[in-house]
Symmetry: C2
Subunit: 561 residues, 2 copies
């Protein structure tokens, strides 16, 4: 008897699992069931379709050579039978039967399986607030959503995005590009919570404001109102006009089928699987957004739905369900987004996450050009490196800037996966030529700064701590060691100017009984100033982590002479 | 008594060592001696200065905020005394004395040291051939070279570049951009020997030809001729016009001072150092282009002079000479170049290098877009992955293409450093969003293909082997499984077309007694075809590694209907 494999859900994970199962074992019969009419599409591409960056929605459903991945394609090319527009209403694990309903005809049917793969994905969270079902309140998930968003994105109209995470920010850019007035409302006190620490998220927020996006953090939407369609967003007593509302407050794993069938769910609420992606039922595997996985740094179970993970897991589930042997070990929480001209992302743990998981950490903020500074098109990026204080192990890297950040995140992702220390990271033989990086890549500079801190050579102080001291009127000397020209142009209110090149001659102008915090544009000169002052016997010296480029607060305006 | 540290050579390694020594230990006296008048410049930037990409030569000698790194800068900012235009003519290790000569006045002097750092760099190889000292025969090393090159790069004139390595190719682009007719003459049978395997180098060669560069491989220059300046390059009986000749046949470590002083040289001819960069004399350290280092994969000593390595080593030497403790472990031979619109480079071992070092290897050629294929600006790159057959350990990655290659090389560099297997590489949590990569990054796809090969699922055959079979008129079926449209447009001469979607229905058109080699654009469909044929009982099936995109030989022209 031919083994019958059924896969529920025909997007990234499911489509991959089905195709892979058939490739691995040509003798099996593979059926792919999906409730939607569009299968195997790239939901990650929706913001780019809405913004007209991608003009034809079919591009999201095509192979790289332009063949639509429809039922016919899966039949002819992959040898997989697809049943689209078919809802699985129940799994009878005892009888190994699926109860189906055709979404168009409402006809019911059953399908038997020997082995089953659950790739049911995730659903956008729809918060339970007043009038949330009004028309023009939209999630960002399906091809139908994409069409609706594209139609509703009208120049001059108001869009309100609920949720300042990755999808919220991608949609903010898309809708601005379509000429809408855009407001982002985020419940937490910062954008991109869980992706960036606060001072890094501020850099992104600055950019959004520059691009004309209104950002409201620490605000909770309490309801919507409108006649035929949504017209207003309510935050307690206040109301804001909105012709289009995007719900981007996260997703939840689609586990109802599994739950009802008695398959074990994990602590995150997603389906629990072992390394081979087998569920609590040995005949049933799960992959993609519906299941949880292991965070390789904390060892905890996490639910971080991503297309990249779904594809990796689909391959593993496909091999195993067809009788092979493969494993998926886990993730380290890497994520990235492009928002206007900024690239921003992280890999591993943020400082907040690391501390919440009990790590004693040291951090570094390191702004620098992404290429040799003399190379045209070189742009700054700010790296935040988080390491375990005792061991120097790299726990996380965040990066934000107009320059290239994805490459630094990818290299760091490998380093973190292999438990690299900052010492090891600082000596990686990265690819160097002026169009690609400075002779010392940004990651190496950040690692070296961390080494200086851990050796006691460098004593950085975070922008947040300096801001706190300034706001509390503590008696500190904020020492600007840039050139007079740079100092005139912009700076931090209340700073004292002594250019680095004159510092050795002007030590006597500085009091020996006060805390001195030196800074420059990126705090390389700031660090050198701290070292000079140390050498001259000053005992309470620091430099501002990341200098002005990583300073997330307001700067004073230019002095006029 | 204040410890006296002297550093010889004020470029990347030496300047870094001197500055770092002073920062680490403010009590030491640091002197930096250089025979040139320009110090601390970025020689890697010279091709970009010649091409006018960098307009002001001073940018190569400046800090990122535009301060010239001259003697005054080192004095004021770094606390380091510089003696430029000063030749060290002898090291008396017994007396710890340096004998100096002022290059301008010819005056001699001595300087005592407690500890010495040799950062004497490397010199371009000047081959001993007839009339090599004629004017307008230039190396690419010093600021003086840069000025001369900029003047001699005259539109419409002939430039002949001797050596098809990294600098040769960078100069080819620079001189083409200045409107010169450019010929590259390389002794070996391929460009970029030691950087790329032959089929990957062919991809670069194709691009150079497209850009109007004449490429002559397997040719040895035997002499030059000309009256006032060079006019002709001779290759045996043949002669070629040349108004400018670039000698780019490699560099040799500048070790004369060390050798005469009795300091041990290594097997490569460069100065031997331990991990702390100490030479055979415990008071003398060496760093940068003048010393050799360990190749972390082969364990052998190598001399691979690079600005990135020089900076890392300068830091280590600076710490150690000032009484601290740091190590430099070695390199893995990463290099990269941009040449016209192509990016090309490698990390770890090429297939050739791996075999020469006794590794039994498996290889993969994997072409794919560098971003989500639907994202505007996505461009192809070809990755070649080299792994140890038995263990699956990643030994090397090469990448060539118009898309982003540096990021893949950097991530691979970390993976190789940590002895990653292809299994581990295939599950790295890389940063995914459509502007940065496909859901499965190019490295993951390459690793998965390697896994398929190692599992016996995929049987790839290299382009070179297929070409050999074709040239030998072996009885093979070269099966093009692309669409009829793609097939018409271009292809490999003699291929049979059966589009993948029709293959299941047309098995009977294929003979079961012949070797069938399937291919498509990138060989994903080629691999699927091999799997389908396997499933149908064909026993001698393969796919062409890398498909048409990685096919380095000529393609047949479009069929006209």
């Amino acid at each position: 008897m031919q083994m019958k494999i059924v896969v529920i859900g025909a997007n990234a994970a499911g489509a991959k699992a089905a195709s892979k199962a058939k490739r691995v074992n040509a003798d099996v019969d593979v059926m792919l069931i999906d409730r939607g009419s569009f299968i195997s599409y790239g939901a990650c591409g929706i913001p780019y379709y809405v913004s007209d960056t991608v003009t034809d929605i079919r591009e999201l459903m095509s192979t790289p050579v332009g063949v639509i991945r429809d039922a016919n394609f899966f039949k002819k090319v992959k040898g997989v039978t697809v049943r689209p527009q078919t809802e699985v209403i129940r799994i009878d694990r005892h009888a190994k039967l699926l109860y189906l309903r055709d979404s168009l005809t409402e006809e019911q049917a059953t399908v038997a399986y020997d082995r089953l793969v659950l790739a049911t994905g995730s659903s956008p969270v729809v918060p339970a607030i007043d009038n949330v079902s009004l028309p023009n309140i939209v999630t960002v998930k399906s091809i139908e959503d994409a069409h609706l968003l594209k139609q509703a994105a009208i120049t001059g109209f108001n869009a309100c995005i609920i949720g300042g995470g990755l999808i919220g920010l991608e949609m903010a850019e898309a809708l601005r590009q379509r000429g809408m007035k855009v407001t982002i409302i985020e419940m937490q006190e910062q954008l991109l919570p869980g992706v960036l620490d606060r001072e890094m998220a501020f850099l992104v927020e600055k950019q959004l404001r520059v691009q004309g996006v209104t950002v409201m953090t620490g605000c909770r939407v309490t309801g919507f109102s409108g006649k035929a369609i949504v017209e207003k967003v309510h935050i307690g007593e206040h109301e804001f006009p909105a012709n289009l509302v995007i719900l981007a407050t996260g997703v939840t794993p689609a586990v109802e089928l599994a739950r009802v069938a008695g398959i074990t769910l994990g602590t995150t609420g997603a389906i629990a699987v072992d390394e081979r992606l087998r569920t609590s039922d040995p005949s049933i595997f799960a992959c993609g957004d519906c299941c949880e996985t292991t965070h390789l740094i904390t060892g905890r179970q996490v639910h971080i739905p991503l297309g990249s993970t779904a594809n990796k897991q689909g391959r593993v589930a496909g091999i195993n369900v067809a009788g092979g042997d493969a494993s998926f070990c886990g993730v380290i929480g890497t994520s990235i987004l492009r928002v206007f001209s900024l690239n921003a992302g992280k890999t591993g743990l943020t400082e907040t996450e690391a501390r919440a998981n009990g790590f004693d950490v040291e951090t570094v903020l390191s702004p620098a050009h992404d290429k040799a500074h003399f190379f045209p098109g070189a742009k700054p990026i700010v790296i935040k490196l988080v390491a375990e204080r005792m061991t120097g192990r790299v726990l996380g890297v965040q990066a934000v800037g107009e320059g290239v950040v994805d490459k630094r995140l990818d290299a760091a992702a490998v380093a973190i996966t292999f438990h690299a220390t900052v010492d090891q990271l600082s000596q990686i033989d990265f690819a160097y030529a002026p169009p690609y990086s400075a002779a010392m890549d940004n990651l190496i500079v950040a690692a070296d700064i961390m080494k200086n801190k851990r050796d006691g050579q460098g004593r950085g102080i975070s922008p947040e701590e300096v801001k706190r001291k300034l706001d509390a009127n503590e008696e500190i000397i904020l020492l600007d060691v840039r050139s007079p020209g740079e100092h005139l142009e912009a700076g931090i209110e209340g700073a004292t100017l002594i250019p680095l090149g004159m510092l050795r001659e002007r030590f006597n102008e500085l009091p020996r009984d006060k805390e001195i915090i030196a800074f420059c544009k990126v705090s390389l000169r700031g660090y050198e100033a701290q070292k000079m002052l140390d050498g001259a016997g000053f005992t309470n010296t620091k430099y501002l982590d990341g200098g002005l480029l990583a300073w997330p607060y307001g700067l004073r305006a230019a002095y006029t002479i």
